[in-house]
């Protein structure tokens, strides 16, 4: 974890300095009349400063037990990656395909593609979940979901 802290503290330090720069651009003002960038600048500097302290800590202070498994070793990372790609794709097509179509295919992917189940089970679960969500949130709670390619069917 010490090595990880070394890397992450560098990233946070860069982010902190960038935030401080953005705050400076927005104008700091004075203590009597603080402007928009006042808190942003000083918070960015605090973040950068703390990141630097963490970096030093990772260099000089002994870390936890040696031989501990790295955080990425033995991890099943493919499922999570597939899931995130599917969710971003869902966000992209949500308005054009509409809630019903995009949600059905997303659920089918999640039930079948992430933790594989039988096709019949995945299809049934996807359909039922999509219908229940539409009925509860779309009809009963009247949330305005996009109709997308089914707009003709729903008269929108």
């Amino acid at each position: 974890m010490q090595r990880n802290d070394r890397y992450t503290s560098i990233l946070w330090a860069i982010l902190g300095l960038y935030i401080a720069y953005e705050g400076y651009v927005l104008k700091l003002g004075t203590l009597k009349d603080p402007k928009s960038g006042f808190l942003i600048f000083w918070t960015g500097m605090v973040l950068a400063g703390l990141s630097f302290i963490l970096f030093l800590q990772s260099l000089f202070i002994a870390g936890p037990v040696n031989g501990k498994k790295g955080i990425w070793e033995g991890i099943e990372w493919r499922k999570g990656t597939k899931m995130m790609i599917a969710l971003f794709a869902y966000a992209l097509v949500f308005k054009s395909l509409g809630f019903i179509v995009s949600t059905f295919f997303l659920l089918l992917f999640l039930f079948k593609g992430i933790e594989p189940q039988k096709w019949k089970t995945a299809l049934v679960l996807s359909s039922v979940t999509m219908v229940v969500c539409y009925m509860v949130f779309g009809l009963f709670l009247e949330l305005q979901f996009p109709s997308g390619i089914l707009s003709g069917l729903f008269g929108q």
């Binding site: 203590l31 928009s36 302290i53 969710l87 966000a91």
Partner: protein, 501 residues
């Protein structure tokens, strides 16, 4: 308004048929969330908050608060039967609760947990009703310097009490403050850190952030592991604790109630800290501490009582000062503000029906929870058998709908996914999300209080030291920041956090 008239007003609000229904819905969902590992009360409240926008503010808070304290009841079921906490504050219950189940005493464990939670809930509400109006009276004299210092103290306590690495927690708090600055300057009105993206002009909404950090990231973490959930197959009988059980549990319940309530008031405290502290104390006070870890009923009674009392205590700073002490209270704050009833010192006077109505509904809710958790325990056991591979897509679905429903904008889904990925990485690299979220909520309020204070004092920082409550808060915050530097205290703190980890 005297206490009896106030409670009469409260019950006349809470006992309206629709509010009874909302209370039932809230505690039912809360119990379900508590029973099912994978999503906690903060995620559930974030998902359901948008759907409460169209109902009156009292009803909205009744449902959302019901989810919070309902989850405390439900969490014990999973802890006792599956040895997996349904939500964070029930971690400790696993230690002795599951051992009781293995010895065929799941029934008394569940029973004492429910009854203890009920006693704590009712007692906590009474303490809340007594303390809150007095505290609100004191807080009427508070100005921007006092609120600024109190928020700094609150953030410091969250960092001190909850995080293994204070430096990392402070970094997350700083990042949270910056995230809270995205959008319009609260005083000058110009856009900040929006990069020309229209959707960011009103700032980043809390709900997608919470759902990403606590919902999506949790699913990602769980996908890494193979599911191993074995429900201990035991006949659940004898839900009513015996005389001997009550004799052993009476003092832990009493101690848990008081400890839980007052720890709940402390920012960063709440149900989680209350349950850990209670377990540690019961072990210390017990005549047979060696029995802890092998199925001691005190190890269930104390923590389960304390976590429910903690939820009531957490309401005190929210309703009287408008300062949330944990993530769930931050969500309730957001809900109250959206409904145009910002909490704070004048809430009790300006909206007595809201304040006393919520209290009365919590009394009703605790009765409903006793009914839900004991006679219907069989139903919850069946729900526990739903495999995670079926649950996770449902959790994701609810997160997506919840994020979209905030502004009916796909950008909020993207924001949620961003924070989901960030939350996952934060968990992997051991950065705590709670300070980030609290700072995100408090950031705008902090900035407004700071700038107003500096304008009033003509730029003098001395104003924060001149006011007594402000000075006390800042000194306390400094003490908590410096304490971990003392080696003895550092070791003790790390040990406590590791036990909780």
């Amino acid at each position: 308004m005297d206490f009896l008239s106030a409670m009469q007003l409260g019950f006349s609000t809470a006992l309206q048929p629709l509010n009874i229904l909302y209370c039932f819905i809230g505690v039912f969902i809360g119990t379900l969330i508590g029973v099912l590992p994978g999503i906690g009360p903060s995620g559930a409240i974030a998902i359901l908050m948008p759907v409460t926008f169209n109902i009156p503010s009292v009803s909205a808070i009744i449902i959302l608060a019901g989810i919070y304290y309902g989850a405390m009841y439900g969490g014990s079921t999973t802890s006792i039967l599956v040895n997996i906490p349904g939500e964070a504050a029930s971690v400790v219950t696993c230690i002795d609760g599951y051992q009781m189940a293995r010895k065929g005493r799941a029934g008394p464990a569940l029973g004492i947990s429910a009854f203890g939670s009920f006693i704590a809930g009712i007692s906590g509400i009474i303490l809340l009703a007594v303390l809150a109006p007095s505290l609100a009276q004191i807080a009427l004299d508070f100005g921007p310097p006092e609120f600024f210092s109190l928020m700094i103290l609150g953030l410091t306590l969250v960092i001190y009490l909850g995080s293994a690495s204070m430096i990392k927690a402070l970094m997350m708090a700083a990042f949270g403050v910056v995230l809270g600055c995205i959008g319009q300057d609260p005083i000058l009105g110009n856009p900040r850190l929006t990069y020309g993206i229209e959707a960011l002009f009103d700032g980043v909404d809390l709900i997608p952030v919470i759902m990403g950090l606590f919902g999506i990231s949790e699913v990602l973490i769980n996908l890494e592991k193979k599911e191993q959930r074995e429900i201990y197959e035991t006949e659940i009988k004898g839900l009513l604790p015996t005389r001997e059980d009550w004799k052993q549990s009476a003092k832990p319940i009493a101690r848990g109630t008081l400890l839980g309530f007052f720890l709940g008031i402390v920012p960063g405290g709440g149900a989680l800290l209350a349950s850990f502290a209670s377990y540690a104390i019961e072990k210390k006070f017990s005549k047979h501490p060696e029995k802890f870890g092998t199925g001691a009923i005190e190890g269930v009674a104390g923590p389960e009582t304390a976590n429910n009392a903690g939820t009531m205590g957490a309401m005190v700073p929210l309703l009287t000062l408008g300062i949330p002490s944990n993530v769930v209270m931050a969500l309730l704050l957001a809900a109250l503000m959206i409904h145009g009833t910002p909490p704070g010192p004048i809430l009790i006077e300006s909206h007595p029906d809201l304040f006393w109505g919520i209290l009365a509904s919590m009394i009703l809710g605790n009765f409903l929870l006793l009914l839900l958790n004991l006679p219907l325990i069989g139903m919850w056991v069946q729900i526990l058998k739903v495999p995670y591979k079926v649950l996770s897509p449902l959790i994701i679905m609810f997160c997506l709908i919840g994020a979209y429903s905030v502004h009916l904008n796909v950008v909020d889904i993207v924001i949620m996914l961003f924070f989901g990925g960030l939350g996952y990485l934060m968990k992997k690299y051991e950065y705590d999300a709670a300070p980030l979220v609290l700072a995100f909520i408090l950031g705008p309020m902090l900035e407004t209080a700071l700038r107003q204070s500096l304008i009033v004092s003509h730029g003098s920082l001395y104003i924060f030291l001149q006011r007594p409550y402000s000075l006390i808060s800042l000194i306390s915050a400094l003490i908590f920041l410096v304490l971990p530097l003392i080696p003895f205290i550092r070791k003790k703190r790390k040990k406590l956090i590791a036990e909780g980890g």
